[in-house]
């Protein structure tokens, strides 16, 4: 049976090749001894570049990790940022980036026919591994997008904290939709709507470049708007960074609650000391929390339901579905001038019922994955609400490790780092006090 099918396949392949290579005019027999010119098409050594990419990625991340955890200094990060923008950004044109690799990995998970290149997977997993070990050192300056925003950042105007709390949900929703469209093989929306890639490539869609420029101008005045409010990979990394093994500290000394670091942080990741002095009763807070926990499954269910019903609309972004809708439209009201998609479909001998089968499969996939995406959206919103209902008291300035991008700005602001007091002296001081 297998032999038969391969035989059939080879016949088909042959027939196909025969159909296109029309030898209308015979090969000329040259009498003048004409030689066919040699055609060579350049094949750059991509493999080598990929190896360099990976080495550089690991090297730069290790360097950042060493700088922020061991040395507590920001200088190397600036240099790493410049290298990253120059190499990963302008030289390598920002492809493949870790942010986009989420989609490849998601697709590889659900679609066994999709073979993911090793380099793409490494780009995906290495920053996660580093985040798990040292926090978001990738974001610090290795990611060309973060580095670019970091380099142009001059002032740091603070945004309303309650608004940023809402905006920080966006990366999660973006992540969910990106995965939804990736696993249904519709499109890679992260790559499609990448605001900085046009800048790195010195050309591209005008709207996106404009968006990128607006983001860059915004990042002059406030820290990393893209990283905080858009980047889905940052959202993913924040999960690992939160539980990282070695954590970034503002200072190895005792905090004196001077508030300087809080003001220096571009991403609002340093939380001030807080004692619970709200007038709200504890019982009320607990009640609310319990209510949210009860509502969580309901919210998950509701949003899953909504997304499930939105799936036919969502599926319209898929190429086959688009083509099929065009076909149905054309068959219903035939136009003389047909779009080139249909022209190609007809001229390649496409069968509408065959397409319909494929479209049905796509739609079924969409129905399933939209439901799951909806459940996750509900979960994200619910967890955000729960997180905002939990009271935590702090005695001193603390880094919120999921938000911290390891930029190292706080180090130089901390007076304790500037005037390092030897440990024994400090102890002596304390004992004196007592």
């Amino acid at each position: 049976m297998k032999q038969l099918s391969t035989f059939l396949l080879s016949i088909l392949a042959f027939a196909n090749a025969g159909a296109q290579n029309l030898n209308r005019f015979p090969k000329p027999d040259f009498e003048s001894g004409y030689q066919y010119p040699d055609a060579h098409y350049a094949l750059p050594n991509e493999q080598l570049w990929l190896v360099i990419d990976i080495i550089l990625l690991v090297g730069l991340m290790s360097f950042v990790a060493w700088a922020v955890i061991k040395k507590q200094t920001r200088k190397p990060i600036i240099w790493v940022s410049i290298i990253s923008v120059a190499y990963f950004g302008f030289f390598r044109s920002g492809c493949v980036c870790s942010i986009g690799s989420i989609q490849n990995v998601a697709l590889a998970f659900v679609d066994s026919s999709y073979a993911i290149p090793l380099s793409v997977f490494l780009f995906f997993i290495l920053p996660i591994v580093f985040a798990f070990l040292f926090g978001r050192v990738f974001c610090a300056g290795v990611c060309p997008f973060g580095a670019l925003q970091e380099l142009v950042n001059i002032r740091n105007y603070r945004l309303s904290k309650s608004v940023t709390a809402v905006l920080e949900v966006i990366p999660w929703l973006y992540l969910i939709f990106a995965i939804l469209y990736a696993v249904t093989r519709t499109s890679f929306i992260i790559c499609l709507y990448d605001p900085f890639i046009g800048i790195f490539r010195l050309g591209g869609d005008f709207g996106l470049i404009l968006f990128g420029v607006v983001l860059l101008i915004a990042s002059v005045f406030t820290g990393r708007p893209f990283c905080r409010f858009i980047c889905p990979y940052g959202a993913l990394l924040s999960l690992f960074s939160k539980v990282s093994i070695w954590k970034i500290q503002i200072t190895k000394q005792a905090c004196i609650n001077c508030e300087l670091c809080h003001n220096a942080c571009p991403v609002d990741a340093i939380k001030p000391p807080y004692e619970n002095k709200t007038k709200e009763e504890r019982l009320q807070g607990v009640k609310r929390l319990i209510m949210y926990f009860i509502f969580l499954p309901l919210m998950i269910g509701a949003s899953g339901y909504v997304m499930h019903y939105a799936s036919p609309g969502l599926s319209k972004a898929h190429k086959d579905v688009k083509l099929y809708n065009m076909l149905v439209e054309q068959e219903a009201n035939p136009q003389v001038l047909i779009p080139i998609e249909l022209e190609a479909f007809y001229s390649l001998g496409g069968e509408i019922h065959q397409l319909k089968q494929e479209v049905d499969q796509v739609k079924a996939k969409f129905e399933f994955y939209s439901l799951i995406a909806g459940l996750f959206i509900g979960l994200v919103l619910g967890l955000a609400l729960i997180k905002l209902s939990v009271k935590r008291s702090r005695k001193e300035y603390e880094i919120e490790h999921d938000d911290c991008v390891a930029c190292g700005k706080c180090f130089s602001y901390c007076p304790k780092n500037t005037f390092i007091i030897p440990e024994n002296l400090l102890q002596a001081d304390e004992t004196n006090n007592i």
């Binding site: 196909n16 090749a17 159909a19 296109q20 290579n21 029309l22 030898n23 209308r24 005019f25 090969k27 000329p28 009498e31 003048s32 004409y34 066919y36 010119p37 055609a39 098409y41 350049a42 094949l43 750059p44 991509e46 493999q47 044109s93 492809c95 493949v96 980036c97 986009g100 690799s101 990995v105 590889a108 073979a115 993911i116 090793l118 793409v120 997977f121 997993i125 996660i128 591994v129 798990f132 499109s187 890679f188 790559c191 499609l192 890639i197 490539r201 010195l202 050309g203 591209g204 869609d205 999960l239 690992f240 939160k242 539980v243 190429k319 080139i340 022209e343 190609a344 479909f345 001229s347």
Partner: protein, 191 residues
């Protein structure tokens, strides 16, 4: 004693520590699990890295010129000399309904003048493409496929292509002619 220990665990600090440990374990575990799952994929063989056009499927719609992310498309016309008929009246070189077979602008198909021709011997002419001028508009490909041997065809130049994660042209290609290929077949050449 047991009661005391219990209380200790329930104190806020301990609980947070416990949750953190749990989180660390889950995170580490998920990294390992993902890597483990993916390793199977790499064992299977080389993945397809590079975008390339299948000339058999190409319908010369002209979108390669306009939809590439680069300002000058990475798609260029390639000429397969070995299947070319070396015609005088070349469907890719001349516009249809051409009156005189000379190099005057009104007779030529290529909008950028990227096709050059050289007399070989009567009645044969050799055609070559000046790649710096070619913008991948596929006008000549259309002409050659319709009236000739189809020796002019489009390919993505590997040295120009940035290998986007998702090729913008592939997204709009009406005949799905652009797909990822392994390095060994980085070009789908006709000759």
């Amino acid at each position: 004693m047991a009661m005391k220990e219990d209380k200790k665990i329930k104190s806020p600090i301990e609980r947070r520590k416990f949750i953190k440990m749990l989180g660390t374990t889950v995170a580490g575990g998920s990294i390992l699990a993902t890597s483990g799952l993916m390793i199977n994929k790499f064992v299977d063989g080389e993945a397809d890295h590079y975008w390339q056009i299948d000339p058999q499927k190409c319908t010369h719609c002209g979108r390669c010129e306009t939809h590439c992310v680069l300002s000058m498309s990475a798609v260029k016309c390639i000429h397969a000399n070995k299947i070319c008929g070396y015609c005088d009246l070349c469907g890719g070189y001349y516009r249809s309904n051409v009156k005189d077979l000379n190099t005057a602008a009104e007779n030529l198909m290529c909008p950028t003048g990227a096709i050059q021709r050289k007399f070989v011997e009567d009645p044969y002419f050799e055609y070559t493409i000046d790649e710096d001028l070619c913008n991948g508009c596929a006008k000549c490909v259309k002409g050659c496929t319709a009236f000739g041997n189809g020796s002019l065809y489009l390919q993505i130049k590997r040295d120009l292509c940035t290998d986007c994660n998702e090729c913008e042209i592939a997204k709009v290609c009406p005949s799905d002619a652009i797909s990822r290929v392994p390095l060994a077949q980085a070009y789908k050449l006709k000759d």
